[in-house]
């Protein structure tokens, strides 16, 4: 087992922090990016829990922006690590981690949301590569991304899960058209991405032809793990915004509202402790399915808390801050107006797997309840009703 703390200390002592990108590249090369990754790929093959030691030792040094590189870090990287060729790992992981190359995800389509495996974007062989045509939606960061993870259909004659192939899409390639997608908040936080005859060389294929679904499961599993989110202090986050209002504005207080607020406080604290327990399980090497409970609860709570806040504010709850269309890349629940919070919270039960799909997954994979009778998994995709 490598002495992670000693390595991190030595690295810090010996590495000038002048140029941020350069520092991060060196940190990657020293295996201190993600210590549980293999040596040579930014890691040391250490336990995941050792990462905390590195962060402690390197506190205050230049760092990447976890929100901007989130998709790369949480979804692309584990997929490349598991299914990529050596060349792909060498090519993509370092700039992904340093933030020099941002990533986005080209999975969802207008006709394939919850039913991702039903997607229609086609990938057709063309010489030593592929021609991609289709439309993707709900793509955050697409207008900044250098690369995308892309799921496309290579064989429509096979049942839907079996005709998919996974690619890395070059977002600078001709035929990639990124358009802002405006949401009910007025912002365009996401994009639509139109792919028209986009050429991708075969070395951008990740995993075997027709194995796209299996590769995508790695991505999705990691998405769900990462959604559990980080630790917040008791009474922090949205419930803190509500209790701060309560404490500072006597006009919002009433006995009935107090009980309602306390119900939400209890629910928020129960969800927070559940998240804490999930992290302890992970740290103890016993990852469980409880992360999905955290996401479900967060979505419900975010909507209830922000809804109550509007009610408490009364007349002020009828006023918005700004409907100007803008590119809101990073969700800021606490910085903007109460109406923004309330509207944006409506997305929490849709994005990253709807609450309905999450309940299906819990029921079938955690509780072991039998699946519904299905007919869409056995017939050729081409014959499915759409």
């Amino acid at each position: 087992m490598p002495d992670v703390r000693a390595l991190a200390r030595a690295f810090r002592e010996n590495t000038p922090a002048g140029d941020s990108a350069d520092f991060l590249r060196k940190r990657f090369d020293a295996g201190l990016a993600w210590v549980h990754y293999p040596e040579g790929l930014g890691g040391l093959g250490a336990a995941r829990s050792q990462q905390a030691i590195v962060e402690e030792e390197l506190a205050g040094t230049p760092s990447n922006d976890p929100r901007r590189i989130g998709i790369g870090l949480g979804m692309a990287a584990p997929t490349i690590l598991r299914h990529g060729t050596d060349a792909q790992k060498q090519r993509f992981l370092r700039p992904l981690w340093t933030g020099e190359e941002l990533w986005c995800q080209l999975f969802s389509e207008p006709g394939a949301g919850s039913d991702l495996a039903g997607l229609a974007t086609r990938a057709v062989r063309d010489g030593d590569g592929w021609r991609i045509t289709g439309q993707k939606v709900w793509t955050s960061m697409a207008h900044h991304a250098r690369w995308a993870i892309l799921l496309a259909r290579t064989d429509p004659e096979l049942p839907k899960h079996r005709g998919l192939t996974y690619f890395v899409c070059d977002m600078t390639a001709p035929g990639v058209d990124v358009r802002p997608l405006r949401q009910l908040t007025g912002e365009a936080e996401f994009n639509e991405v139109f792919l028209t005859d986009v050429f991708l060389p075969d070395d951008l294929r990740l995993g075997a032809v027709g194995e796209g679904w299996a590769v995508a499961r790695t991505t999705l599993m990691n998405e769900r793990v990462s959604i559990g989110g980080g630790a917040t202090p008791r009474g922090g986050g949205l419930i803190g915004v509500l209790t701060d209002l309560w404490k500072t504005d006597p006009g919002v207080r009433s006995a009935a509202a107090q009980d309602e607020m306390m119900r939400l406080w209890v629910a928020a604290e129960a969800a927070r402790l559940t998240g804490e327990r999930v992290r302890q399980q992970l740290a103890a090497g016993e990852p469980g399915p409880e992360g999905s409970a955290v996401k479900l609860a967060f979505a419900e709570l975010a909507q209830k808390i922000t809804g109550l806040e509007l009610e408490l504010r009364g007349a002020d709850g009828l006023r918005h801050d700004d409907w100007t269309m803008r590119r809101g890349e990073l969700v800021d629940f606490e910085g903007r107006s109460p109406t923004y919070r309330w509207l944006r919270a409506k997305g929490t039960s849709i994005e990253g797997g709807t609450s309905e799909i999450l309940r299906n997954i819990i029921a079938e994979r955690v509780l072991g309840l039998p699946a519904e009778p299905r007919t869409d998994t056995t017939v050729p995709w081409r014959e499915l009703p759409r």
Partner: protein, 358 residues
């Protein structure tokens, strides 16, 4: 009380739908002057509850509730609630005839200068002119006549574009019913009667009829979601064939069905003589209506957004307009908890007021 729709009401509904179905609005439309004109000129509904002798239709608030329902269903951006219901009821109670005659013939549009939610702020009277600020007023941007409850106890008529009146549009959560901040700085006006009873009656009538608007909003949300669930395919099936989706829509249907009964009851309860509008039963019916129909509309709209999935979260799909309308109406004219508290008081169930049993 009759909780059904009369044949006349059904026929009015048909006319309204024919008119409204031919229009469409974008998320940025705060007012559609053409529709407002047609509602006055073709259907005469802006003067529906104005006495016939003043040029109105002499109908009751029941019929106006039907109009509210359809305007809610289509989310028509017109100041019907503010002008044709609340200001009109206030004017009826004060006994005004002048302004009512002009509302009836479409030459005037009045609005009560009161916050759409929250307590009345003071507007003082000095030398026959008004000074004060009233924030978040509904339907006042397009009104030409403001009815201002002033600190002398009178309801004042003030020209909306007259001297000393400043109107600043608010960035409203519900863009289809824009709010405005009013500032009166020595604005001249004319007292038309005592404000208290007039304003209270307008709030009771407004609360009772807002329930019909909320019903219309909830119906649109339910109908639209059901239609979507029938046609949206995922996993090779319409999403409406999944039992969890079915059950949630069934629950929304139950709640909308209840809203219909409650809203009809409230509309009927406030359809008697204006003198009754301060009565216990009228206030109870209005508070009940807002306690039930407001949250019911919010729930229907939330399910509409959720069950539409991603598309329901976009600016492009109208679901968000209904969500914003539902939420703002559940706060306007009193939140559901405030109305429940009013109900407790009316029913002598308020703990603070109950004394020990004898």
């Amino acid at each position: 009380m009759n909780l059904l729709y009369s044949a006349d009401e059904e026929s009015l509904r048909d006319s309204l739908r024919a008119l409204l179905r031919s229009r469409s609005w974008s998320p940025d439309d705060g007012f559609d002057p053409d529709v407002w004109r047609l509602l006055t000129a073709e259907l005469g509904v802006t003067g529906l509850i104005i006495p016939e002798k003043l040029g109105g239709a002499g109908a009751t608030l029941r019929e106006a509730a039907l109009v509210m329902e359809e305007l809610g269903r289509f989310l028509a951006p017109v100041p019907y609630l503010g002008c044709a219901v609340m200001a009109t009821v206030a004017l009826r109670v004060t006994g005004d005839t002048q302004i009512l005659t002009r509302i009836a013939d479409g030459s005037a549009c009045a609005a009560l200068a009161v916050p759409f939610a929250g307590p009345l702020p003071p507007v003082s009277v000095v030398d026959g002119a008004l000074t004060g600020r009233v924030q978040s007023v509904a339907d006042a941007m397009v009104a030409d006549t403001l009815l201002v409850p002033a600190s002398d106890g009178g309801l004042w008529e003030v020209a909306a574009d007259g001297p000393g009146v400043v109107r600043v549009p608010v960035v409203s959560l519900d863009v289809t019913r824009p709010l405005v901040d009013l500032t009166f700085d020595g604005a001249p006006g004319r007292p038309i009667g005592p404000a208290d009873r007039a304003v209270a009656a307008a709030f009771t009538a407004g609360s009772a009829l807002l329930a019909s608007e909320q019903l219309g909003v909830a119906e649109w949300c339910l109908d639209t979601t059901v239609d979507y669930a029938k046609t949206r395919l995922q996993f090779g099936r319409p999403i409406g064939s999944f039992q969890a989706v079915k059950h949630r829509l069934a629950d929304v249907w139950v709640s909308v069905t209840q809203s219909r009964a409650v809203a009809r009851y409230a509309a009927g309860a406030v359809s008697g003589p204006d003198d009754d509008l301060g009565g216990t039963e009228q206030r109870l019916a209005a508070a009940l209506a807002q306690s039930h129909c407001g949250p019911a509309a919010v729930r229907a709209a939330e399910e509409c957004v959720q069950l539409h999935g991603g598309i329901g979260f976009t600016w492009e799909h109208p679901a968000h307009l209904y969500l914003k309308r539902a939420k703002t109406t559940s706060i306007a004219l009193g939140t559901a908890p405030a109305h429940r508290h009013a109900l407790a008081t009316l029913l002598t169930l308020d703990a603070a007021a109950l004394t020990e049993p004898s």
